[in-house]
Assembly symmetry: C2
């Protein structure tokens, strides 16, 4: 997916949030925003993938402001809240666990989410139905699959991914499950370290994409990751950034699990804003 | 006043609103936002006056998208609503008319206002008191003044300015009142044409600042306007853009009438967000 018109203001607004979380001095904040504006104008072009140019912009801003992980506390709080909540759903069936993994995707700073409302929203999302639902096809493919590559998105959300993966293991005991996190902190994305802290080491193989960029931009990931990606039988890709970076592959193995939280994503997929999706573009 | 950190995202967000009002094709919108980003990065520096660089940016964007007045319909609606409402307040005293002129300043697109809520907000603002109130000093100065220069801000609001000016004429019958509008359309600012349509020609002398830029940037106004500005005994400057462009003069003749609608202005003046002000910086 290439940028839509909203991606530009959205990126600059996210820079402002990063700057406000990291700096208190007004002159420093102003200089950091002027830097963000200049870097954004250099990075963004009509062929840009939003998660890629946004990620490159944020990493440069992190360096400029001297803060390598502005979302540390936000992520800690998201994880804490999600971990406390996920226990209430342990008896869910496989399909409900899949919906919970999508519901967990509402925990996303980048569209202005407040972590305190997590519980309320998770329960509301569970009552909704998926607007596009290729989950039957997903489960059918997993019956015959040897390896599943699971691409996580944000902190907090990963606790619902863990529950879904536990249910997948019960349903498909012979399936090898590999979970990929980011190589280092970027906005509120889950890193390899976050995955290991959340106990993914006990239920799956945990690997790094080899990149700190949001999503799974194949031009930036490591050679090791690319090999795993190429050899997986099925790929579950969580959240908007994974959609943005993988949507053009037209790859029948990829199932996108996400809520269309911004107008650009909703327009790109052709669904109403806020739609819940378990989407295989090849099956559409 | 020079830019604060919020001015950058605010300008880009306003560009997005302009683009969405003017264009429907998604590729054209995206290109216009990329243009805005590039021009903003060229225009904004730490010494920029927000109304000046914002205005220059918007005018370049108008040219890029081929729309010289994207706010035409918004302004028409604002004027229509304000004209309908102002009649309810004709028996106000001078001080109430001054407050109404500030209340009229809530009608401002640039901070996301919806014109339908105008009436409700005007009545709420009238119940508030001015956080800084130099109106006694203003009226005292007007007793001894020969000429008042009145710098208007937005459409809609100008109908409340007209009521205030009528009350000023009753109170100070010998005062010469000159009202200045913009030379051409810029966001929802009132132009000379808007002022004449609203009947200002019958109650005052109407002149142009000689510039389309918001506020009264003395480096961009006409020589004719500068002469009027220099020779006026008292200046009433409405709204945020007039504050931004005139605040550094430290000119004892200028009274700023505004609501501090954005964090940058509130921080600059050192008042809570939303404060109503009749402010002479020299008297503070």
């Amino acid at each position: 997916m290439r940028i839509h018109h909203e991606c530009i203001a959205c990126a600059i607004n996210q820079c402002q949030k990063i700057v406000e979380m990291s700096l208190t001095d007004e002159n420093s904040r102003r200089d950091a925003m002027l830097f963000s504006l200049k870097r954004a104008s250099e990075l963004f072009s009509k062929d840009s993938i939003p998660a890629v140019v946004g990620g490159l912009l944020f990493l440069d801003l992190y360096e400029f402001i001297g803060n390598d992980d502005p979302f540390r506390e936000y992520k800690r709080l998201s994880n804490e809240m999600a971990e406390g909540l996920v226990g209430h759903f342990e008896n869910s069936d496989l399909k409900t666990a899949l919906k919970l993994a999508i519901a967990g995707n509402v925990v996303d700073f980048s569209t202005g989410y407040n972590p305190e409302k997590l519980e309320e929203d998770i329960r509301r999302v569970l009552d909704e139905s998926l607007l596009i639902d290729h989950s039957d096809e997903l489960f059918e493919m997993l019956k015959r699959a040897g390896t599943l590559l699971y691409l996580v998105d944000n902190c907090g959300e990963i606790y619902f991914d863990r529950l879904f993966i536990e249910k997948l293991r019960e349903e498909f005991p012979d399936l090898k499950i590999i979970v990929a996190g980011k190589a280092g902190p970027i906005i509120n994305d889950a890193t390899v370290e976050d995955l290991l802290e959340a106990g993914f080491g006990e239920i799956a193989e945990v690997i790094s994409t080899g990149s700190r960029l949001p999503g799974t931009p194949l031009d930036y990931v490591s050679e090791e990751f690319l090999e795993v990606f190429r050899s997986a039988d099925v790929v579950i890709a969580k959240g908007q950034a994974n959609f943005e970076t993988l949507s053009e592959l037209n790859d029948s193995r990829i199932f996108f699990l996400l809520k269309a939280k911004c107008p650009a994503i909703a327009r790109e997929i052709g669904v109403p804003l806020g739609s819940l999706l378990c989407l295989n573009l090849y099956l559409r």
